[in-house]
Assembly symmetry: none
Homo-oligomer: 409 residues x 2
């Protein structure tokens, strides 16, 4: 029996492991993480899993299949949080996975594969500025250079590991072999408004979107707002306004594409001066790299054709590019069936936010199930889900696990 | 003897009183204003004027007439600048007026009226967002509500005055009586392209265009740039971009109309967050009040129709409205004669920029003489005039002063 009330009460209990009084902040390798890990280890053992902390501080529980030593279906999410976080981002996935195993164990069921549940120690990257440290270690893509990254108190990752009782030189032991893992599946709150808008409790993730980030500078000519006739102006802000709308228009041309100008500054920035220079940021995301790349190219080309007749110069600085992490078709098909079997409409949607699957993708095929959250709000204490949605999510996830068929090699 | 080289070198010297290294920014009640004021006080005294800083921080020099205590012809311009300014806007008028008095004093001449030269502390309104503070104080129209206006560091005008050594409660002492002032005349660079296009060094101003200024706030909803689909966004910046283009489009509909968005800020202002709020300024000017008023109404109505379908709320704060300030016929006639006496064609033209005369108009009749500037460029470090034009301007202005006949009461 899946107990949704227990899922929520465990999220509440984890939320008390916080360095922020009255709120939730829990960073990698902190005393709060140790406290949260102790709770998770206990719940895993209660669900008849063998449970341990691995070489980088992830909590790993294992429920054997119908004979010992079988390759596993790996489930998980992260236990660290952003600062002043909500209580479901990450934790809901770990607690729900344990609940699913708990139900199997209570029914005395063993499956033709093992199940492992991982509570990743670091996904958000708050403490050391590098994200996905827990899942990278398991995927075998941990970059040793990160060991010298410092937190805001000047403590390196290596030092923090030692204080936590871990040995940085043994970090490679956290890495798993490809033949040990059949697939990775994660349940997570959506952190966006799509499911709520469509009245659906869950959705099947198609991909963790890739993203491109640019800084754009437009240079025109400053001038007096009262004396320069409209026809003689080289206004960098009216040019930027057209660019912002071009980003929106290109991004609207494909339902799964998003494009955002989040920062803008106009110089000199006085009420009576025509802006001579404008700088703005661009963030473009899509579930297909080709879509993102062609959208970005279109946007940049639109910037040029907007600015040329305005005699405004465009320059573009590359900040970041990250390719898409696609969920596996065969896993999505099985997740779809689990959703449909609960009598729900199957809604596939990409994930705009990053997740541990981005790292796990290097080790094995990945799948994700999104659970509706209130107002799409996340990374915020106002993050909220209903017990009913937690229950639906757990039922779908449990069915996906029970009916899981590994891909033919 | 008028020394045009000294006029230019003094403008250069004032340009060094700047908070912007390698450029010119000097705002109201700043240490740079104090440094500029010290220079002006010295030059005034050198021209045998009594000189003082008045209750709001204007520099005021007085050259008595053929007997002490006569009403004055008031001359002046402003000493503050926009950000990253040119060195003639304002300063040329103050320095030329001092030069004219210097020549009178050197020749031992006294006129049948006193002359006062004012270097206004604030005309541009950069620091507190309210313009003409210096001339309003002298005209007796200073609005005490402005004392609580804050600069971008949260310092109020009242606090800034106290730090500067002034007492806000005594601001009324800066106001002059109508019977003390016969007229106000100002020499200023044109800041526009008309005189250059016609090959004329100077022109006689007919009126200062009216203007309307607004602060517009758009409220949408912030969200994760990766998770909120385009169709569900309430992006305040894309709405603002459409508004900026609407301002441009309405302003382009009439040749004498101009409209400018000079400042814009998007919040929270992170590369990965959809802007939930945008604030921008609006500046609309025209030579006829009815044209300006109808253009402004059109713009604000376009803002509403742009923002409504985007589910973005618009609020508009009135910052300033100022009708057209007409120059007095009797003063223009005397200025015309001074121009013609120098062998120049008389060209009358309106001013697209605002000037201290707009405030002085409440106290006395006003006149202005424009001096050609290169390319019509102003509010820009590229602002430039020739020494020859500075000399012509000074000669015409000196002649206007020497031949000035007060209006019969």
């Amino acid at each position: 029996m899946l107990e949704s009330a227990r899922i929520l009460s465990r999220c509440d209990e984890l939320a008390l492991c916080s360095e922020l009084p009255g709120g939730l902040t829990r960073v990698f390798l902190s005393p709060e993480q140790r406290a949260a890990s102790e709770l998770i280890l206990g719940w895993m053992r209660e669900a008849r899993m063998s449970a341990r902390v691995d070489a980088i501080g992830n909590v790993v529980g294992r429920y054997e299949g119908d004979r010992p030593g079988l390759p596993c279906l790996m489930l998980g999410s992260h236990l660290d949080t952003v600062r002043d976080a909500g209580r479901y981002d990450g934790m809901l996935g770990v607690v729900t996975a344990i609940e699913c195993v708990h139900a199997l164990a209570a029914a005395g069921k063993r499956l033709p594969f093992a199940i492992e549940v991982v509570g990743f120690g670091d996904e958000e990257g708050v403490r050391f500025g590098a994200t996905l440290l827990g899942s990278r270690a398991i995927a075998g893509t941990f970059d040793a250079a990160t060991l010298v990254a410092k937190d805001r108190d000047g403590v390196t990752l290596a030092e923090a590991m030692r204080s936590y009782g871990l040995e940085p030189e043994r970090i490679g032991e956290a890495a798993r072999r490809k033949d040990e893992v059949l697939a990775y599946a994660e349940l997570h709150i959506e952190q966006g408004p799509v499911l709520e808008a469509e009245g659906l409790p869950v959705g099947v993730v198609t991909a963790i979107n890739g993203f491109s980030r640019r800084r754009v500078t437009l240079k025109g000519e400053a001038g007096h707002s009262g004396t320069v006739p409209m026809g003689l102006r080289r206004d960098a802000l009216t040019a930027a306004a057209e660019c912002v709308l071009a980003v929106e228009s290109v991004a609207r041309s494909e339902p799964e594409l998003v494009g955002t100008v989040g920062r803008i500054e106009a110089s000199p920035g006085a009420i009576n001066v025509i802006p001579g220079e404008v700088r703005f940021t661009l963030d473009v995301r899509a579930p297909h790299d080709s879509l993102r790349e062609s959208a970005l190219a279109q946007m940049l080309s639109r910037f040029e054709s907007i600015c040329a007749p305005r005699r405004v110069a465009v320059s573009v600085e590359v900040l970041q590019d990250h390719g898409v992490s696609v969920c596996a078709d065969w896993l999505m098909a099985q997740m779809d069936r689990a959703v449909a079997a609960e009598g729900l409409r199957v809604r596939r949607l990409p994930s705009g936010a990053g997740h541990d699957g981005m790292a796990m993708h290097a080790l094995t095929d990945i799948a994700m199930l999104f659970v509706r959250c209130k107002g799409g709000i996340s990374h915020n204490p106002a993050e909220s889900i209903t017990e009913e949605d937690a229950a639906v999510g757990a039922r779908v996830f449990a069915r996906f696990i029970a009916d899981f068929v590994p891909q033919k090699p």
